[in-house]
Structures are given as C-alpha cells and as structure tokens.
C-alpha cells in the first residue's frame, strides 16, 4: 500500500462504521436478540409440543388443561410399531396380564387391556420411505452433477434453451399433473412400485439439482481441471479427483434439499402407493388407533419421521451454511 503524505486535516470524530451507526447500539442489540428468541420459540413450540405429546401416557394426552409436567412414558412408541387388539372383556384382559411369560412391552400394552398381534405397518413404511427418498436423492445428485458439469464446461448447442427447458418443469405445481401422471402410471404399470416413485422424485428434483450444482461448478475455476489435464489425467479422472472434491459443498447442499423433498412428498405418494410400497408421509395421518384416536402414537410417528432429515442436515451442516450462501464462496 502506498501511503500518501497529505496536509493535516481535522480529526474524524464521527464513526462511519456501519455496525456503530445508530444511537444506542446496545439497545438495538438487545432488541435484535429478543426478536431472535421470540422467533425461535415460535418455530420450536410445535416441535416441543410434539415431543411432549409423544412421551405422554394416553390419559395425559387428552387431559384438560394440558399437562406441562407429566410422567414420561414410551407407550406411544410401542403402539407405533405394533398392531394390537382390545380384549373383549375385562376378565380376559386381567387373566392375560397375570401371565408371567410376558415381555416388558407386552405388559405395558396389556395394562391398557390390549394384546399385540403382530409388528405394525409403520416400520415397513419408514423403510419404503428410506428406499425411495434415498435412491431418488442419489440419482438426482448423480445426474445433476454430471449434467451441471457438462453445462458448465462444454459448449453445448442451445445451452440456454436447454437450461430453460429443464427449469420449466418446475413452473407448474406438481399437484396440477397428478391426474395425468396417475393415469400414465397405471397404464405403464408403474403405480405401486418403488421404481415409479423414484423416477418421479428424481424427475422433480433434477431441474433443481442441475441448476444449483451448475452454480457451484461455475464457481470452480476451470484452470483446476486444466492443470490436471496437462499433468497427465484424463477428463474423467480430473473430474473425479479435482472437480468433485471442490464441489462437496454444493453436492451436500443439493443432497439435503433433494432428500427433504423426496422424504416429505405427500400427494403423489398417497395416490401412487398402497400397502406394499406406501411411504411414511401418507400413512402418518391415517394411523388407526385401537378404540380411539391415539394422538401420542401420531406424535411419535411424526417425531420418528422427522429424525432422518434432522440427522442428514446436522451431518452436512458444515457445508450447508456455505452452501445456502453460495455465490459468496471464496475462490482458491
């Protein structure tokens, strides 16, 4: 830096630093903190309520006024993974309870006058969700990275039009095409198959993942691969060893967004799946209680359903923060 000698000027007495502008910085900081706390509480309240409900016993769930302090119970989770029947008479229930070859969870259920008949549907539905959301996420990101790389690096005739076309698949709400897709899938025999939903979710996510990843790959200077090319690597090797590691942030962000969409999708799952392939989202609201609406079971299902997204997001959080502010990634 060159320093320039200049005539002495009046000392600067008013700070022009942006963070110091404002009359009472402490007061504004306190207000800001207050707003953040209120927002956090508002956002977290339903989640906390859900967790509390899932840990309440059937009688506490419906207690009026709602109990804030209660004795926690994991009955709801047993209910969630089991299929039960009510004993027709009090006497039969008591006799069953008296048996000493009962497992701990059978005892818990027996206290409610119920008997476990088999494993419930929820675990299977959760597994279906994993298979469908996981596979479609892998495909969305894989194809997304490849085509984003091609769009970013090669001269493609009609590149702009193609990119616009890819984006245009996002321009109408998916629900608007439910009926045609339903009919098409029925004709093609794709309804009620894993492949059908994986294909559908991949299609929906691909436009998003191509655009997002293209932004990230554009940010990687092409000299990186070129250096690898002159150093004796093929383009595919250069892609794998240089581009992919540089793009992890973008890939992580895209993975999370694609997974969240596929995991949460409700409308098509409700319409295109039944027993064998039904995923978790359409099944949670239709959980059948035994003799009543089991709110604690529904809350437990929602909680379990929420966990994978939380875990995936948490695992990739380091990349996500940079990912969602992309465009501001430093080079080099």
């Amino acid at each position: 830096m060159a320093t320039r000698a200049s005539a002495p000027s009046a000392p600067v007495t008013i700070s022009t630093r942006v963070d110091k502008v404002g009359l009472r910085p402490k007061v504004t900081r306190a207000i800001r903190a207050f707003v953040v706390v209120i927002l956090t509480v508002l956002i977290l309240l339903p989640v906390v309520w859900m967790v509390m409900t899932s840990l309440k016993s059937p009688s506490d769930v419906v207690a009026v006024p709602p109990k804030i302090i209660f004795e926690p119970s994991i009955e709801s989770f047993i209910f969630l993974v089991t299929e039960r029947v009510q004993f027709p008479t009090r006497q039969e229930a008591d006799e069953f309870r008296a048996r000493d070859d009962l497992k701990w969870y059978e005892k818990k259920v027996a206290e409610r006058g119920q008997k476990i008949t088999r494993v419930g549907d929820f675990p299977k539905q959760l597994r279906n969700s994993f298979i469908i959301a996981g596979t479609s996420t892998i495909f969305s990101v894989l194809f997304g990275v490849l085509s984003a790389y091609a769009f970013s690096r090669f001269k493609i005739p009609g590149e702009g039009d193609l990119l616009f076309f890819i984006l245009s698949t996002r321009m109408l709400p998916p629900v608007a095409v439910t009926i045609p897709i339903f009919l098409m899938y029925r004709e093609l025999g794709l309804d009620n198959t894993y492949f059908g939903l994986i294909l559908l979710y991949t299609t929906f996510n691909l436009s998003f993942s191509v655009w997002l990843l293209k932004g990230f790959i554009d940010e990687i200077p092409k000299e990186y691969e070129e250096a690898a090319l002159v150093d004796g690597y093929t383009r595919l090797q250069a892609f794998r060893k240089v581009v992919l590691p540089q793009a992890v942030t973008g890939i992580a962000a895209t993975t999370v967004f694609c997974f969240i969409f596929a995991w949460n999708e409700y409308a098509f799952a409700a319409m295109l799946t039944s027993d064998a392939t039904r995923t978790a989202p359409p099944s949670i609201p239709s959980i059948q209680g035994v003799g009543r609406i089991e709110w604690e079971t529904i809350a437990a299902a929602s909680l379990v359903f929420l966990l994978p997204v939380v875990i995936v997001t948490f695992a990739l959080r380091k990349h996500l923060l940079r990912g969602v502010t992309f465009g501001a990634i430093r080079k080099g």
Binding site: P221, E223, Y224, E226, A227, A228, L229, V230, D231, G232, Y233, T234, Q237, K241, V242, P245, Q246, K331, G332
Partner: protein, 364 residues
Amino acid sequence: MATIELINVEKKFGPSYAVKPMNMTIHSGEFVVLLGPSGCGKTTTLRMISGLEAVTDGQILFDGKDVTWLHPSDRDIAFVFQFFALYSHMTARENIAFPLQAQGEPRDSIRKRVEEVAKMLRIEHLMNARPGGLSGGDQQRVALARALVRRPAAFLMDEPLGALDAEFRESMRAEIKRLHIEQNATTVYVTHDQIEAMAMGDRVVVMSAAVVQQNGTPAEVYHDPANLFVAKFIGSPGMNLIQGHYADGRVALPGDNRYDVPADWHTTIHEAIGRDGDIILGFRPEAAHISASGPIATTVYTTDLHGSYTMLHLEIDRDTIVDVRAGRGTNYPIGTPARFDLDPAMVRFFDPKTEMAIRKGGNP
C-alpha cells in the same frame, strides 16, 4: 527438452481472431517470453501449445512431431497458471505429487522426487500446509514445484507472477530465471509486464491485436523495434517518436528544428520513402544528450528525479514533448530553454504510412 514449432497456427472465436496465423520456433532450452497488452492473444497462444485450446488452423510440432491434435496429457508439458490452480483440498505435498501419481509411479520414488523439488524451491517447511494458508509467493512456489516435479519437455507459464505483490514478484522473477538456467528447460512465459519480459527472456515475442509484431532478443526489441507499436510499447517511457519531413539528408522537425540524418542512413531512407517524404524520427531517452550546440531546440516542460538520473520532458512545440535522460548533476528549471543532440548510432526511422521501421538492409 523439446523444440516447439508453430506453423501458421491461428485461433478464431466465432468470426474474430484471437490469434492470427502465426509462425514461431522455440528452440530447445530457450526461454521465450510472449509479451503484449491485454487481450492480444498471449494466453490463447499458450493454451494452443498446451492443447487446452484446439487450433482453428495450422500445425504445432514438438521436436518435429505433429502434436496439433494430441490431448494435453500426452504432450509432456507443464502449465503454470496465473492463479496457481492449486487444489485446496490437498496439502502442498499432495499437490506437488499429483502429476506423478497420474503416471502411476511407485510411492517411494514419488516421495523422493517431491522432496527433491521442495528442496530446490526451498518450501520443505510448507509441505503439510494447505494452499489456503500460504502466502501468494509460497503458493506460486508450490505451483512451480508441481510443474517441475515431472521434468516435462516444456514449461508454459501464463503470467505466473501477475497475482503477486511487487516485492514477491522481484524475487520470484529471479527464482524462475535461476530454475530455468539450472533445468535448461524450454519455457514459454506469458506476461504483459515488459520489464519482466526484458529481464527474463532469451527471446521476446511482442504481440498486439492477435498479431506477432516482433520476435527478437530483448536487445533487438529494445534497440531495433520493428514498428511503431513495439517502439512505443517497449521501454518506460517508450521511444520518442517525432513526426517530420525528410528532404535531402535532413529532417524538418516541429518548431523549425532541423536534424541532419547521419550519412549512413541516406540510401536506406531513399529506398524506403524516396528523397522527399514524411518520416518519423525515433530515439530512446538515453540516445539524446543535452548540449548547447545541439540541433534541436526545446523548452523544459517538467523534470522527474530518479535514483541515478533525471528524466527531462522537453517541449519541442505545443504538440510534441520528448523524454530525454540527463545526469543528476545539473538543475533544469521549468520553462528554461534546452538544446539536445542525438547519438548517431542510436537514431531510428519509421515510415508513417506503413508504421514499419526503416531498416538498413531491409526488414528481416
């Protein structure tokens, strides 16, 4: 080490030329600098040599072998980029080893070679650092090490010092030069800094507007510029160029000045522009000396003091100011008259119509 030949090599982007058909030979072990203003096609030329950019037409030969359509990885060259192009997910050591791994060399010999190169560039202590944590100069040293490690047939460097601070640039310039002498590697070096070009090049190729303007040693380019562009572009300040009219061994200059052309130039000038015609007189600031009996009368416009000399800016007339170098001893107050004479061995002439130099023995 390879000899590189470009035969009518050209590059078009759409309808416009980035490099017009170009012929050039870079001899084995030579350090050739491509010099020119921004956008003149230097990088494009280098990228065509490397194979990163396909030629539109023409041929590239390495040691007589046609490599025009060979993949970059098959050309056995190393490329040093302006922004280093170090991989931020690898340590310095891994970066340097990267080119060797492509060839599937055994681990031990890779490690040995990497250590060797690190020592040569004095970066042993940085080997476990990631590029992000290194200074610009150190990053460029690592990039140079990565280029050196494979002992390629030729080095291609695209403004390798452009992103560095002035102080680093000086010392890195010396390091690159020393490395070149030690390795005796064919090197093509791109820069738009003419001081760098003159200091480093065995040969300087001056480019402008997609065309090679001159290809010669630094001394040739400096003392015998091929045309007005090179005369102005090389040197700081560039060559003084004064519009004049030649007739019978004399040049009439602005401000009623007359300059008697040295006798050994007469025939050459007659051949080029005839006995009577417009001409441009050119001379370097150090070719002029202040002298009370000098033929050219001027007024002192301003003076700049430099370390060992004074640069005088002398006004011949309102539109013509020339730069003349003088000793530090004398004071030249602004507005006082000054006359100067020219060293007859150092005057040059240009044809204003073709903008080409008028040269004894014709243009090569």
